[in-house]
């Protein structure tokens, strides 16, 4: 079903994920050209570029929209640049969609690319004593995996999860990504591989935690009218039904990166729905569908345990039931609701500004039946979910 608030996804493209340390714009160029070719459009046809920013690549990273426009060759195209940490890609899609639905443009390029340093992510340089991201490293040595581990430990102590459950998430995702040409890690892992890998932040081990990667992803999105003129018909064309970019409601009572304290729940009672529940919740409300309508989900498995949190946050099961859902096989390819058929971050690693866009690429390929060995049979509706530092929600629903 089409509504006047839909935008069509005409093309998707990626540069494969890896670790080469090259200029991030080279990756972006490959992804943009792949998406343009997929859409059957020329760069000159694009009326708007929504860039997702990277803070790790200097000034060009902060002005991603213009940087990619220049790389592709100045055409006078209008641009925007969005930074929302891991949610930057969803913010960029949100910008492009708003321009299209407001009638300011008909067709837009949404793009993100990154080159990442080795090892832990660190805050940007300088001594910044009022920046919580700087303070959590300086005062507490609280790396990103420390936060992932806090959530993982809650699952063990509160819900009875085991480290083998976490390992099974990696095993599942490593199988899913085996033949994904854009995945960086294409090797099947066993439970033993995971539980015997070095401890990073107890209870999480090296193979529970996603790597940092280079990569790029791009979308060509348009108005439904433009899609109809370009394609003759919009039948079966994947369309964006919802983009959720919600932020928390006060009081935010779950410790979130990069803060090292929660809001107080004394003066005001916590909201009925946690922040993470509200991310997909807002997307479902906008799309007018629910979790039972999904064919697949791409969620942000920064850690194996975090994928289990998402099962609950996007409504696939109740609180504390994610391990049972995983063990039932429902979230594997061939199961009731495959999660991360792409292989997820377990197989990609994280290329921050590209990742939320890559999730939409995967859903698009799945809905077109172009996902090859990882195809979810008869996929018609997919959701993506992700969360960026500093309270950035990100969830996109695509259907055909």
């Amino acid at each position: 079903m089409s509504t006047e608030r839909d935008v069509a996804i005409l093309g998707v493209g990626m540069h494969p994920w890896g670790k080469w340390g090259r200029d991030f714009t080279e990756y972006g160029l490959v992804a943009a050209r792949a998406a343009l070719a997929d859409a059957g459009l020329a760069w000159r046809d694009i009326q708007y570029v929504a860039g997702a920013d990277t803070i790790r690549n200097g000034y060009p990273g902060f002005i991603a929209g213009a940087t990619f426009a220049q790389k592709l060759g100045w055409t006078g195209v209008r641009v925007s640049s969005s930074y929302a940490a891991c949610a930057s890609g969803a913010q960029a899609l949100h910008q492009a969609r708003a321009q299209i639905l407001a009638g300011y443009c008909d067709v837009a390029l949404v793009i993100g690319a990154d080159t990442t340093p080795k090892g832990f992510f660190a805050p940007v340089g300088g001594e910044r004593k009022t920046d919580p991201d700087w303070l959590r490293f300086h005062l507490l040595g609280a790396t990103n995996p420390v936060y992932f581990a806090l959530y993982a430990r809650r699952r063990i102590d509160v819900y009875g999860a085991t480290t083998e459950d976490f390992a099974r998430v990696k095993v599942k995702n490593s199988k899913h990504g085996l033949e994904n040409p854009n995945a960086r890690f294409r090797k099947e892992n066993s439970v033993d591989d995971v539980v015997n890998s070095p401890i990073v932040a107890d209870p999480l081990r090296l193979l529970d935690i996603c790597a940092t990667s280079d990569g790029a992803a791009a979308l060509i999105v348009s108005s439904m009218d433009f899609a109809r003129s370009a394609l003759g018909s919009t039948d079966g064309v994947p369309r964006v039904k919802a983009v959720s970019t919600v932020t928390p409601r006060y009081p935010q009572t779950v410790l979130e990166l990069p803060d090292f304290a929660t809001d107080s729940s004394v003066a005001v009672a916590p909201p009925d729905r946690s922040f993470k529940d509200s991310i997909a919740g807002a997307a479902y409300e906008e799309a007018g569908i629910g979790p039972d309508d999904l064919s697949l989900a791409e969620v942000y498995d920064l850690s194996t345990a975090l994928e289990l949190d998402w099962y609950e946050n996007i409504g696939l099961c109740g609180e504390g039931e994610a391990e049972a859902l995983l063990r039932s096989g429902a979230t594997e390819l061939g199961g009731r609701i495959p999660v991360n058929p792409s292989g997820g971050l377990a197989c990609f690693g994280e290329a921050i500004p590209a990742q939320a866009i890559a999730q939409v690429c995967e859903v698009t390929w799945q809905l077109r039946g172009q996902a090859g060995a990882r195809q979810v049979d008869g996929a018609t509706v997919g959701i993506t979910a992700n969360q960026g530092l500093f309270g950035h929600g990100s969830s996109v629903i695509v259907s055909n």
């Binding site: 809650r154 401890i199 999480l204």
Partner: protein, 116 residues
């Protein structure tokens, strides 16, 4: 109520006051979650050499309804912690340079029977 302290701007969206008073928080709370970090963080953390793993705990202050993350007192491992366990605040050295010793709060298992 808000931690860490800040100047002005109450975090409650229904309140437009800029008048925040300094108040002492409870020195005791219960473990919301915990971990043990096995890799040296990058700067601006000043890692001990040789690096030794350290535990961190997110501790819920019951009266204030705030969860505060901190390192756990040296020598206490994650294996000695559990969700719901009572902890108390202590002060320890963050690092030293030629001129100063820099202090930081840490969480330690609460001494049995001592007052709040």
């Amino acid at each position: 109520m808000v931690f860490p302290p800040r100047d002005g701007a109450c975090p409650n969206p229904e309140c437009d006051s800029d008048a925040l008073d300094a108040v002492a928080l409870s020195r005791r709370g219960r473990v919301w979650s915990y971990t043990e970090n096995h890799y040296a963080p990058p700067p601006p953390y000043v890692a001990a050499e040789p690096f030794a793993p350290y535990a961190l705990a997110a501790v819920e202050l019951t009266e204030e309804g705030i969860v505060v993350l901190g390192q756990v007192a040296r020598g206490v491992t994650a294996a000695e912690l559990h969700v719901g366990m009572e902890m108390q605040l202590e002060i320890d050295t963050l690092y030293r340079d030629d001129d100063h010793e820099y202090l930081v709060y840490v969480w330690a298992p609460a001494a049995l029977g001592s007052a709040t």
